[in-house]
Subunit: 436 residues, 2 copies
């Protein structure tokens, strides 16, 4: 938190921009569902029309980045092929097909004859997005913001500035064409602005970071604006002694190798001591065959692992083909280990004993608690949300994978015909509290 | 945020206590609804049995506080009469009658045959409560915590230590009698502990402050634990030129005087210029007759007000029989003023024109937007929640008056029969996403 003082104060330019977005967000927040859908279609149309411009901007960005000697991984994320762009455009149209998250009535209650309370969903306001590379993120997050009636301030990596600018131009043309204030989507292109954004608590209602754990952690520690996201994803799978062995092997493998760079991949496998020898006998060659490096505690080294784990291993999100293994005496030890090291993202158990599974799922305090399935299912699309805005590992809602629901809040609307509280306090009337 | 370093690190004693509460909270979080209801009844029984003890402790506290020369307002809040205690005991039993907030299924969805996702409410974990005087708060908040399966760490004002200790003893006896770990309710009695609590982010999941604006602000600025509550309550009422005059007078008066110390009372009245002269002609004598001091802008002084307002007035929560009045040109100016000065608690409009009302309610970004009724209705009990845990003025949920719902969160439970993601990614299976 000491870092807060390093975040620069927003300059007048930025404040002016932020004010424009805020004003535009109030307007887009009032628009009908159909108008927002129309805007998304126009946005997709203009991305199509401007395809050449966008791809040219991207090859220029790419050339400059190459010259600068940027890492291959970053270069490949920066590269926008025609296919990637088309799939992004498809994505924008698909967001239009999601059901409207705004104006959903959550409570409608008569407090007294003629005094009606409604709790309805409303847009959050202005969303700040800070992301690294991946110009496709601009299309995705902007369309989600428009779908939910929000304004958005975007700050991408400087290596993608030309691409991001070309994309945002197209998106703004689409907004304009549909009669929505184009300032509802705003791109910041200087690094200074990016950090100053963290001090715009009077303009930005929610920050969504898209990038490395370090970026997310920095943002969480340097802003008073709520942040939707998570830094670490240290997920565990516990193989109980009553596990089906084949299932345990298959789910453990999928949870690790299906996409090791994802936050919902496991980093640590906990194995019940009574099944450890049989399990490892099959697991070691299986993981070896899939290029997974295994690192284990003393007991698992005794059973054949070649690398011994240090305390740091239990705390590390490898995001790679590396897996730490610990042999535990029982369910309680597995739960204790998870309580100590889990980042509260997703933790699973493999067992045929449903009371063991229930105990595990009830006690483990993570956003997702899984029984007999891969941790890789922890994902907004797989959950059927149609979109994923982020995954939250905080205890309070929103928690776990968050869909469009994460971009709206609610407001209480109370309509009366002159009602006053004194009338009730003095006993002249009694609340009816009738749900309508 | 600079103050964070002044909050003392928790000592070993406090960490040990916090760990006991955390362990007890895991246990109470697993209990059945009926068991928690039983516990509440036992808690009420023991408060009854220990009535003499509690009242004696309170008169001792009172005597000591009197000697110390504590303010009359504080003394009257500290005083626990038999009636106050009985009404607190009634309150504990009534909390048992509220419907169970835990284990509520919010989503139940088949992702694929045999792969079932459930989103269910679960207790938040451990709630930290910091309150000033008012020993009745101990009974209320402890019973809400038990109802929702949470552990609670309480820190009251030191002037009520004996009373609070006697009450917590009774509550713990009740827990014990019903077979629940008595550590689920824990009272801290030293001021040092109170502030160190703010650094217990690994033990406490939510902090609820009950006290002055200054206390709340200090807590919000000095902890990374989520805080449920609000500091200021600067509420506005706008009298439109198309208002029903009688209604405007009656609602304005109720919004100010029905209980001026409440956060949902208005501090500022905004009056449309076209109705200002007629309105003030009746309002000035009416408010005068009710001992309300009126402070106004230039134009309202020209219309008869005797005190002129400064910038500070628009920023002040008087919590007293004082009201600031500003004459505005139109709806837009009223909305601008509210956007600038409202604490986003509750703001209302009086008008017979429903499109004006809708515009006001849609644009004003406060937890409560009211039309033709008193702002004093912004309250959990009046909304029919059966309880009020706090009122939140943040944009993201929970927002506005928060009932028991504010003490639970949710978790995703996914149960399969060995499902792996590769099966879907490789096209061998397609998600069904069927709500059950």
């Amino acid at each position: 938190m000491a870092n807060i003082f390093e975040v620069p104060k927003p300059g007048n330019d930025l404040l002016e921009k932020a004010d424009q977005v805020r004003l535009a967000s109030i307007k887009i927040g009032q628009t009908e569902n159909q108008k927002r859908i129309k805007a998304l279609n126009f946005m997709a149309d203009y991305l199509e029309k401007n395809t050449n411009e966008i791809l040219e901007a991207n090859s220029e960005d790419y050339k400059r980045a190459e010259k600068k000697g940027i890492s291959k991984a970053l270069l490949s994320r920066l590269k926008l092929t025609k296919e990637k762009l088309n799939s992004g455009i498809d994505g924008v149209r698909k967001v239009g097909e999601l059901s409207d998250p705004v104006n959903q009535v959550q409570i409608k209650r008569e407090l007294y004859k003629g005094l009606i309370l409604e709790r309805k969903t409303v847009p959050v306001g202005v969303i700040g997005v800070i992301f690294e590379s991946r110009p496709d993120a601009v299309m995705q997050i902007s369309s989600l913001a428009v779908r939910s009636g929000n304004g958005v301030m975007l700050k991408g990596g400087s290596e993608a500035n030309l691409t991001n600018t070309a994309i945002v131009n197209a998106l703004q043309q689409g907004l304009y064409e549909s009669g929505i204030d184009k300032n509802a989507i705003c791109l910041l292109t200087s690094r200074k602005d990016s950090m100053s954004m963290l001090n715009l608590e009077n303009y930005i209602n929610l920050i969504i970071p898209r990038g490395s754990n370090e970026l997310v952690k920095f943002i969480q520690e340097n802003t008073r604006i709520p942040v939707l996201g998570h830094a670490d994803g240290i997920c565990h799978l516990f193989i109980d002694n009553e596990a089906n062995l084949e299932m345990a092997l298959s789910v453990a493998l999928d949870s690790k190798i299906q996409y090791p760079a994802a936050c919902n991949s496991i980093e640590t496998l906990l194995v019940h001591k009574d099944i450890a020898s049989v399990f490892l006998e099959k697991a070691i060659p299986l993981f070896n065959a899939n290029d997974v490096k295994l690192i284990g505690d003393k007991r698992s080294v005794e059973l054949g692992l070649t690398h011994e784990a240090s305390l740091e291993d239990w705390q590390t999100e490898y995001l790679d083909l590396i897996l730490s293994i610990k042999i535990v005496d029982d369910l309680d030890e597995a739960i204790s280990h998870i309580q100590k090291f889990s980042s509260k993202h997703t933790d699973g158990i493999i067992t045929e004993n449903s009371s063991t599974a229930n105990k595990f799922m009830n006690i483990v305090d993570s956003a997702g608690v899984f029984h007999n399935c891969s941790t890789r299912f922890a994902d907004g699309f797989r959950y059927g949300f149609g979109a994923e805005v982020g995954i939250s590992t905080q205890t309070l809602p929103p928690r776990g994978p968050v869909g469009l629901e994460g971009l709206v809040t609610y407001k209480y609307f109370l309509k009366g015909d002159g009602n006053i509280v004194d009338y009730f306090s003095s006993g002249k009337a009694i609340y009816t509290h009738k749900d309508l």
